[in-house]
């Protein structure tokens, strides 16, 4: 009986602890959403107003602001193109690594990994000088190239894991039936790894979308991405918390939705497949 009671106390403690953590994790999102819906007076009320009449003013102000919407569009263009390029180049590489005999596979994998580990500032400074020289400052292509560098290796690592998960016997069976290897890859492997590859793509998208430093340094007036634009809100808008919050929610919303969508692959993705 004593044991049972003790276990019960622990169970209550565990539940309370976990849910406290959840509240702490969710609170900022709640705060951003409510602040975005508050009038200026309500946003700065001390003590904070928990009950208030919501207003769409802030969101409207942000949506009507040309620079922000433009940077939002830039973010979409850059994230999507980088993701597609990383997939087109990365999946064949992953297939080669998974299914062919190559020399020094381990070394290649390590090299791929180190491209991901390099501090972004190391890349940003020379690219800044190179792009200036080539007149590629403030172009989509420049940013896409730089982001590709951080995401290609990731795509290869992840897709390789998924392809290796497909039994080679399935491919062999298709080839005995007369399919070429290319066809077998297309008709057997791709349908089986579709889910994983989609998750990899989404993770690529999230990484590019959230990136700040490289965009800050290498983008310009025409190609600024959304995370860079909202940091300028703090200085330009003075203390308009409502608009900052509204813009913050708009920027974070796509990645929150996508992140929850691929939550099963999130940890595996963030550790380059080291954790299953």
């Amino acid at each position: 009986m004593g044991m049972y009671k003790k276990e019960k106390v622990w169970s209550i403690f565990r539940n309370v602890f976990v849910w406290c953590c959840v509240i702490i994790c969710v609170y900022p999102v709640y705060w951003l959403v409510t602040t975005a819906l508050k009038t200026r007076v309500d946003a700065f009320a001390v003590p904070p107003k928990w009950i208030f009449t919501p207003t769409l003013e802030n969101i409207k102000a942000v949506l009507l602001q040309g620079t922000f919407m433009k940077s939002y569009r830039n973010s979409i263009i850059i994230s999507v193109s980088t993701t597609l390029l990383a997939m087109i180049l990365g999946i064949p590489m992953a297939y080669a690594l998974a299914r062919f005999k190559m020399q020094n596979k381990k070394g290649t994998m390590m090299w791929l990994l180190s491209t991901k580990m390099a501090p972004p500032i190391l890349i940003a400074i020379p690219y800044y000088v190179i792009f200036k020289f080539l007149g590629m400052q403030d172009t989509y292509l420049g940013l896409i190239i730089v982001y590709l560098m951080f995401n290609l290796a990731f795509t290869v690592w992840m897709s390789r894991g998924f392809i290796e998960g497909v039994p080679i016997e399935l491919e062999d069976a298709a080839r005995i039936d007369g399919a070429t290897r290319l066809r077998a890859f297309w008709a057997v492997d791709i349908p089986l790894i579709k889910g994983g590859v989609a998750a990899t793509g989404i993770l690529c998208f999230i990484t590019v979308w959230n990136e700040f430093l490289l965009s800050l340094i290498l983008s310009g007036y025409h190609t600024k991405t959304a995370p860079v634009t909202i940091t300028s809100f703090i200085s330009f808008e003075g203390i308009r918390w409502g608009e900052i919050a509204a813009a913050g929610i708009l920027v974070a919303m796509p990645v929150i939705i996508l992140g929850i969508l691929v939550r099963k692959h999130l940890i595996s993705g963030l550790t380059m497949g080291a954790v299953k």
Binding site: P28, A98, S114
Partner: protein, 331 residues
């Protein structure tokens, strides 16, 4: 297991008749060449991996090696954007200057302090959360989604939120402190509190990540040792200390390596929240390199700092990282 070798290759037969080669007509050789190309393109040839691998590899090589080589060259030059005319090779002068630069040592200290402080708390707290989540929890699915939020929200938005949270006049922090009957603080402009304030942000943002890594490790643990421990009458604490922790060691090191890599290049949050201030109290290595390049316009010096950072990362990546990642992939 031989990968890439196909058991009964029908197409091989047309190439295998070397004996009669001289007898064959030119047309047949042409056919062979055409077939070879087709075999290469349809991935049937053992060399086909080149077709798959080289385009990506060349692109990646170009976009990684070019900037690295440039950075290396810049780091050996007296290269200042303000006085381009005087650009010349000075070899190791930048590196020697760095080692005598107090501000560099300060940034290293900040980076190490920040990394160590965040890492320790994230591991302990992450472990607690992981252990709780591996047991029965009411509404676990929902709880796990809630816990995901900090690490997927755009980091800049997170930094902006915390900046407003810490605001001494209107921020939530001082409101909560006043509820608890404590005085007010302004963490971002106090030299002694600012690093703690920044570490708290990182803990909030990345503890869930550590927790979920550890959770996946906990869920993959074998059952037998626990049954044996139960039979031997081990206490709960003993079971954790002598069974769970040792078994989790590889997963814990993965969490440490990945967090270390991120913390080491940490800069976004600094840029948004403090710009390295007050004074230079939160100036990290990345940020110091950044201002050297974009404020002091000293490309050579900034590049040298970056090269030092790269060396540190490469050493760690090639020792610890290699052991952990490659070995696990091979399993």
């Amino acid at each position: 297991m031989k990968r890439g070798s196909f058991p009964c290759n029908v197409r091989e037969s047309c190439l295998g008749q070397n004996g009669q080669k001289s007898e064959e007509s030119m047309e047949n050789i042409k056919m062979n060449r055409k077939q070879k190309i087709v075999r290469f393109l349809t991935l049937e040839s053992p060399n086909s991996w080149k077709l798959l691998f080289y385009p990506g590899r060349i692109v990646l090589l170009l976009i990684t090696m070019v900037p690295t080589v440039f950075a290396l060259v810049f780091s050996l030059q007296d290269y200042n954007l303000a006085k381009v005319a005087s650009r010349k090779f000075v070899f190791l002068k930048n590196y020697i200057d760095i080692f005598q630069d107090d501000r560099f040592w300060n940034s290293l200290k900040v980076t190490v302090g920040f990394t160590a402080g965040s890492l320790v708390v994230e591991l302990i707290l992450g472990m607690l959360i992981a252990i709780c989540l591996s047991k029965k929890i009411k509404g676990k699915g929902l709880a796990q989604i809630g816990i995901l939020l900090p690490m997927i929200i755009t980091p800049v938005v997170v930094a902006l939120y915390w900046k407003m949270f810490y605001d001494p006049q209107f921020g939530n922090l001082n409101y909560f402190l006043s509820l608890a009957g404590l005085g007010t603080i302004d963490p971002l402009s106090s030299r002694s509190w600012v690093l703690v304030g920044m570490i708290v942000v990182d803990i909030w943002e990345w503890t869930p990540y550590v927790a979920l890594i550890l959770l996946s490790g906990l869920q993959a643990l074998p059952q037998e040792p626990y049954e044996a421990a139960l039979v031997d009458g081990a206490t709960k604490w003993q079971t954790y200390r002598y069974i769970t922790l040792p078994l989790l060691k590889p997963i814990i090191s993965i969490a440490v390596v990945f967090r270390f890599m991120d913390l080491f290049k940490w800069m976004d949050t600094v840029y948004v929240m403090t710009s390295g201030g007050p004074g230079i109290a939160t100036e990290t290595l990345s940020y110091y390199a950044y201002i050297n390049n974009f404020k002091f316009l000293n490309v050579g010096y900034a590049s040298a700092i970056c090269i030092i950072m790269l060396l540190i990362v490469l050493v760690i990546c090639n020792t610890v990282g290699k052991k952990i990642l490659i070995n696990r992939q091979e399993e």
